[in-house]
Every structure is written in C-alpha cells, then in structure tokens.
C-alpha cells in the first residue's frame, strides 16, 4: 500500500502538487454543485411521496431567472478553474532553456532513453533532482504515451514527429513510468521506472554507466559509417548542403519556403529527404527510412546540433 | 419556355464560370488562387442548388435542411485550420 502512494501517486515534482491542489479544488466544486441535487431529490422523494399529506400549494412550473442563474453561476465558477488549469497547462509547453536534454524512443514494447553524455538505458530513466529535464520523444512504430503518474504528466509519442515533455523532479526516489496509449499486444507491460537521484548520485550513475562517447560523438561515428560524410563532409565533391552552423538557422527551401532547422527538420531531412529540399541543392539524397532507427537519427541530430556554432567548411574535428 | 429559359441561362453561366476558374488558375498562385477557385466553386454550387435543385421555390425550413450540413462541415474545417496553423 505504501508503494502505491509513493511509487505511483507520490508527488515527485512541484507541478504534481499543483495538479493535486487543482484536482482537490475541482472535487470540492463538484461536490458543491451536485450535493443540492442529491439532497433535494432524496428529500423531495420522501416529503412529497404520493399519498402523503404535504403542502403542495403554489407549485411553479417555470422560473426563467432561477434557470438562468443555475446555468450561469456554475459556469462562471468553472471558468475560474479553467483559467487556473490552463495556466498550469501552458507551463508544460515552456521548458527552461537550461533544461537537461534527454531523448526517449518508444517502440513496441519498450522505452529507450539517451543521455547527452551518450549513456543509454532501457525502461529506466535516471534524472537528477532539482534540475529541469526536457525529454524529446520519438516513436519507432505506433503511438505510445510516456506517463509518469508521480509527475502528473504524460505526453503521446507520435510516429513521424518529435513531441516534448519537461519536468523538474524534486524528490529523490523511484517512480512508475508507463505507456498510457494502447500500442498493441504487450502494451500492458511496456513500462519501467523513473529514478530521481541527487545530482551527486546522478553524476556517479552517469560515470558508472558505460558509454561510447557522448551522444554527439556517437552521431559523428554514425555520420561516417552511414556515408553521410561522403556528401556532407568538408572534402566532398558532391554538391550537398554543409551542416556546420545549420542548427537553429533559417533554411530557404527549393520551393521558396523558409523553415527553421530544428530537430524535426533535421529528422525529416534524414528520413524523408524529398519532403523539404534546401534551395540550391539537387534533390539527390536517398531516404534512410529503412536503414536508421529513431535512436540513430536522434544521435545524428545531436551531432548536427553540436555543429551549430562551427564554421561551414571549417575543421570541426 | 418560362421554366426552361432560366435553366439554360444557368447552364451557360456555369460553363462561363468553369472557364473563369481554369483561367484564374493559370494566372493566380498561392492564397489568391485558393480564394478565387473556392469562391467560383461556391458560386457554381449556389447556382446548381438554387436553380437546378429548385431550392429557390422551397420554404425556409427546406433550405435549412439542405444547407445545414455545410455549417457542420465548416466546424470541422475550421478546427483543423486552428490546430494545423498553430501546432
């Protein structure tokens, strides 16, 4: 029972506490709005039971002002809660800039996580307490949903695009982490735990977890292995856009549009290269859809992001 | 003849509008093109509904029945614009 209240419903973040307060407020409102109905129906059923003598004179069949008031007053009360709740919701779309960036990939039926340092884990996510963490979510196959009850947060993971979830866990401990969106046969066992550690413990965990270099470094290896450098490298003779200094900048496309080179753009350019072709370059890039998984793509994106401040054509290595 | 003449006129107008929409598509691009083509389509549809389908001789209730679905369709399309334009 104790585990039920900590592992599942514990308040692992300030946001969780705020949601609980909001929920309690709404529960009180619900009781206030419905109690009159319950009490009056029962009371009337007893008092005005057929055959029982009672004062039934001056019964009214309509009263517009009464009806308008019991339509309007509950509505106005809920509007106040709407403002409160929507405020909390909008916060979820504004991760702090300094947040620790972690990648998550949902696939039937497991969760894979990548830390910036290159540490990878399955069905377990270690994060430091007190620090904002923004999780970039990708799906390898169907829609999943990353749900951590103790954070009162969930976000669907939609194939074909990146969604984000950010939180700041306060209390060290282990919390349930599950998939909330039905995703096929083993949906019910697609879960694990979120381990919130003190920053020192987290640093120790990072050091102990084996890694083949940072995520960007792993991306750089892939970049060579998959032959990306053959065209996008400095020494290449193929006319392909350079990737140094690309991330976060506007990219003019062949069709005249201008898009920002964000994570989603980089992902789409690797998996659906014909969708958004950069202006001035031939549309010759092959798709890597059946070659690279979402995890590899995330590594490549991390690598390209690491080049954000490098000079085009300059030695970045 | 009194019933036939308007039908023929409307038919000629419909063909003219078709020519106009094809012509517009050759000249205009982007949003103006979209607006022009949908406006012309709307006009053509209105002519068909009003004259060929004889909605002009029906009462208000029947008109609401015939056109109500358009309103509901606009709800669907409107929300899609809201989501896709701000996602």
């Amino acid at each position: 029972m104790n585990r039920l209240l900590t592992f599942w419903a514990g308040q692992a973040s300030h946001h969780a506490g705020q949601v609980d307060t909001l929920f309690l407020g709404l529960a009180v409102l619900a009781v206030l709005l419905s109690a009159p109905v319950f009490i009056l129906i029962t009371w009337f059923a007893v008092k005005y039971r057929r055959g029982k003598p009672a004062d039934r004179t001056h019964a009214v069949n309509r009263n517009v002002w009464l009806e308008v008031s019991w339509a309007a007053i509950p509505f106005l009360a809920t509007v106040a809660f709407y403002l409160w709740s929507t405020g909390l919701f909008i916060d979820l779309y504004q991760p702090p800039a300094e947040a620790l960036a972690i990648n998550a990939v949902g696939k039937q039926w497991m969760w894979k996580f990548q830390h910036p340092g290159g540490q990878a884990e399955i069905n377990e996510l270690h994060v430091p307490a007190g620090q904002a963490v923004v999780v970039t979510l990708a799906s390898q196959d169907v829609i999943h949903s990353l749900f951590v009850p103790a954070l009162r947060l969930k976000q669907d993971v939609v194939p074909g695009r990146y969604t984000r979830l950010w939180f700041r866990a306060d209390a060290a401990g282990s919390y349930a982490l599950v998939c909330a969106q039905f995703c096929g046969t083993d949906h019910a066992v697609m879960g694990g735990q979120l381990v919130v550690q003190t920053p020192a413990d987290y640093a120790r965990w990072l050091a102990a977890a084996g890694t083949d270099g940072s995520l960007a470094a792993q991306g750089a290896v892939l970049f060579r292995q998959m032959g990306c450098s053959g065209c996008h490298g400095a020494a290449s003779t193929v006319h392909a856009p350079p990737l140094e200094g690309l991330y976060g900048r506007p990219v003019p496309l062949a069709n005249g549009q201008v898009v920002t080179a964000d994570d989603q753009y980089l992902r789409d350019s690797i998996l659906l290269p014909q969708a958004q072709v950069a202006a001035g370059y031939p549309a010759i890039m092959p798709t890597y859809q059946n070659v690279l998984g979402e995890e590899d793509v995330l590594k490549l994106v991390a690598y390209i992001k690491s080049l954000a401040n490098a000079q085009p054509g300059g030695g970045h290595e | 003849m009194r019933t036939i003449a308007p039908l023929l006129t409307v038919w000629a107008a419909l063909l003219a509008l078709l020519g106009l929409t094809v012509g517009a598509s050759l000249v205009l691009t982007g949003t103006p093109s979209l607006i022009a083509s949908l406006a012309i389509a709307g006009l053509k549809a209105a002519l068909v509904v009003w004259v060929f389908m004889q909605l002009r001789r029906e009462g208000g209730l029947m008109r609401v029945m015939a056109l109500g679905a358009v309103f509901w369709l606009l709800i669907l399309l409107g929300y899609l614009v809201l989501d896709y334009a701000t996602r």
Binding site: R50, T57, N61, T86, G160, C183, H187 | D83
Partner: protein
Amino acid sequence: MSEATAEVSYLEHGHSLKSWLLTTDHKRIAILYFLSITLFFFVGGAAAALIRIDLLTPEADLMSNEGYNRAFTLHGVIMVWFFLIPSIPNTFGNFLVPLMIGARDLAFPRLNLLSWYIYMVGGLFTIAVLVLGGVDTGWTFYTPLSSMFANGNVILAATAIFVVGFSSILTGLNFIVTVHRLRCPGMTWGRLPLFVWSIYATSLILVLATPVLSITLVLIAAERLFGIGVFNPALGGDPLLYQHLFWFYSHPAVYIMILPALGVISELVATAARKPVFGYRFVAGSSIAIAILGFLVWGHHMFVAGQSMYASAVFSFLSLAVAVPSGIKVYNWTATLYKGHIALDPPFLFAMSFIGLFVVGGMTGLILAMLAVDVHVHDTYFVVAHFHYIMVGGTVSAYFGALHYWWPKMMGRMLPLVWGRLSAIFIFLGFNLTFFPQFILGYLGMPRRYHVYPAEFQTLHVLSSAGASVLGLAYLLPFTYLLYSLRHGGKAPPNPWGATGLEWTVPSPPPQHNFHELPTVDGPPYQYPVEVDGEREAAHG
C-alpha cells in the same frame, strides 16, 4: 376499417415469421431492434465479464495479452455501435415517436425496416469478426496501430461499423422527417413530449456525424489494403488527422448515446411526480444545445496527443460550455419533484439512479475538461470510470427505466413492481461498486487497457470485479421477470402510471395503426393531474 379490426393489437396482427420480418409497422420494428440489441448487449456483457474476471489478479491468468486486447476491443465495438447508439432511439424511439406525436407510423416505414436489415448485416460482420478471432486495436482504431501494425480482422470490423453507420443515418433521417411532417393537429413544437425533442436532437447528430466516421473507416481500410495512407507517418501523413476525424464523429456519438436517455428521464420524472417538467422550454432547448455544442468539443480527447496548445485551450473552454445544458436538465428535474406526488415505482427508481450517476459522470467530465488535470488522468481508469458513469450508469439505467415504464404499453402486461424496484436498487449498488473504485485507480495512475498490473492495485480491482458480478446478475434479473410477466403478468390498462402523453390514450398494446382516429391536441404537454380511474390499483394487483 371496421371496429373489430381496429381493436386488434399490433402484436396480434399476424403471427407468422414473415409478418414480423417483412413488417413496416414501427412498433414491430422496435421489437425486432429490441431483440437484436439485447443479444448484442449480452455478447458485449460477456466480454466485459471476461475482462473483469481476468483483472481479479495482477497476473495474466485467464487470457493472454493478445486475448485480453481482443476482449476489450470487442466489448467496446459491440457496446458502442451495436448496443448504446441504437439502444434507446431504435427501440423506444421507433415505438414511441409516432405514438407520442399522434402519427400512424414513421415518415418512411419501408426505410425503417431497411435500417433494421442494415443493422443486422453490420451485426453479422461483427459476429464474423468474433468468430474469426477478433480485432486488437481498441474501439478507437488509432492509426498507425490499426492501419499498419495490428494483425486482427481490422478491415472486417471497419466494414461492420461502416455498414451499421448507414442504419444510423437512415434512422436519424426518418425521425427528423417524421417529427417535422407527421405531428397531429395541434401538436406544435412547444407541445412535443421532451422525449421527442431529445430523439430529434439525437437524429441531427446521427445524420451529420456518422458519414465522417464512414469515410474515415474507408481511409483506414484503403491504407491496410492498398497502402493508400493519408494517416501514415512513414509517408509524411499525420496520425493526428485520423484522431480529428474519428473524434469529430465519436464525441458527438457520446451525445447520441446520452441524449435519448435524457429524454427518457424527463418523461419518467414528470410521470413519477405527476407534475409538468419544470421549465419545459429550457429542457427542450438544452437538447438542441447539446446536439450543436457537442460538435465543438471533440479535441478534448486529444489534449496530450500532440495537437496545438491553442486548439487544446479552445476545446477545453467549449467543453465547459457543453456542461451548461446538461446542468440545466439535472437542476430542472430536481425542481420538478418539488411539491409533486412522487411514486417510488421502478421507472422512477431507475430515473433517480440515472440522475445520481449522470451527475457523477458529468462532474468528472468537467474535471477531465480541465487541461492540467487531463494531462494526468487521460488514458487512465479515471476516464474509464467517467464514461461508464455516463454510458452505463446513465444510458443503460435510462434504458432499463424506459423498459419498465413502457413495458405495459409495448407488451400489454404489467410487471411485478417489487422485483422492478429490487433490480433498480441492485443495478445502482452494483454499478457504483464496479466503477467508483476505478476513479481512484485512475488518479493513482493505473492506465487503461492494462491486462497485467502492479500488485498494489489489486484491492481496488477486486472490489470493482465484485461489483461487476453484482451488476451482471442485476442486469439478468429484469429479463427473467419481464419474460415471466409476458405470460403471468396482469393485463395492462391503457394508462397504468397515470401519465400524460398520447401514447397512453391508446390501448395497451396499441392497435396496428395506433390511432383509430388521428388525435387532436389542444393544450400544453404534461397537464397533470390525469384521471386514473383506479387503474394504478389494478397495476399493483
């Protein structure tokens, strides 16, 4: 037509199978629907029983993961499209709308029969899905799971729902035209029974929303068959577009399921209190308001799906607005009871339990509409509990209330009131024991569609399963005594409850053409008191 034939009831008018299967009498078609819907209710209920038995323990003991997924998918598909949506409109709506408005039949009697046949063809497809091993996508058929990954009979199931959709459209169309065109002299809109108002509002949704589901299912089938996929992310398509189209239908479909129930309750409350419904205009108007506002809130199913934040904020706000007309109805029913002459007969007990459960379902719906809370409880048992309070606590209670209330009219036999009261009470208790623990489970974080679950949740699940067994038996109970009453129940007088409404002015069961002479209405609805002629005493006997 001579006096003698006019007195023959619709039940006595021909006994051959053909006289039933080729009938165009709205009352007989209502009975056909009643039988077929009851069948599907028990098939869907059996799936629910399997689910609840399996959830007694945290491990997978009764079914495999795959088997469990198929069980809840089938439960959802059957209960939504083959029980809830046709339940009240196609049985009681069919039977009562012409009687209530003083007409001899629906506007298109043959179309009505065709609707039933289409429903049965859809039903056969569903049975085929069941026999061939089921389908494993959930009733929501989310892409790309349904279109690319699921290995069940998705196309067959989509076909079943596609087909039954046409039954819905044609039925809705029939009701709308009937209400517009066949009201008897004096039956103005302001005099229509509230049940007719709610059926009218429901029909609007049936006609306008169902086709969008049909085309969406076509797109899913095309994606599976030919790789034609606008929802396929591997091709740059958008899975969320599917959700938009699906919920554009499926949220209004929730109102298809609950609106007729709201209409039933208005009738039951007025009769029980022997008083006009308080604020007739508000109650009637709120049905139409629900039907229209119901189209504006579908995005509240997608708050965490990845739709735009702004869309979420708008959908959340409008979801609060749709609660207003529902609230009006509940408060107005309460006011109707004030200074009434309330009889605690079975229909009223069902109505009371409806109001209680609907209020809980509605209030939790309000909570779910709040964005920050929904982020936590979306796709958990909280949602499961919420919509079962509306669909089962609400619609099914109203369905049973209607069954008890109009049974004497439909079958010409009285039912044992004591047993009726008992089953109303048991259904209420069993229902709450089943579903209230699920609110707690949900807030604690138990996701829906989980077949194996952490041991900590077992206590609440066992409570829920215990409640489900009470509920299951309580649902069986009425069918036994109602069957019994067909043979042994006392003959029903025309108006056993002392109610207003044209349906109570004709004999029970009504003659084949309803009215010997078309009635004329010259006053507002619900004009109590009604002369009862000691008939209710006969009912007790």
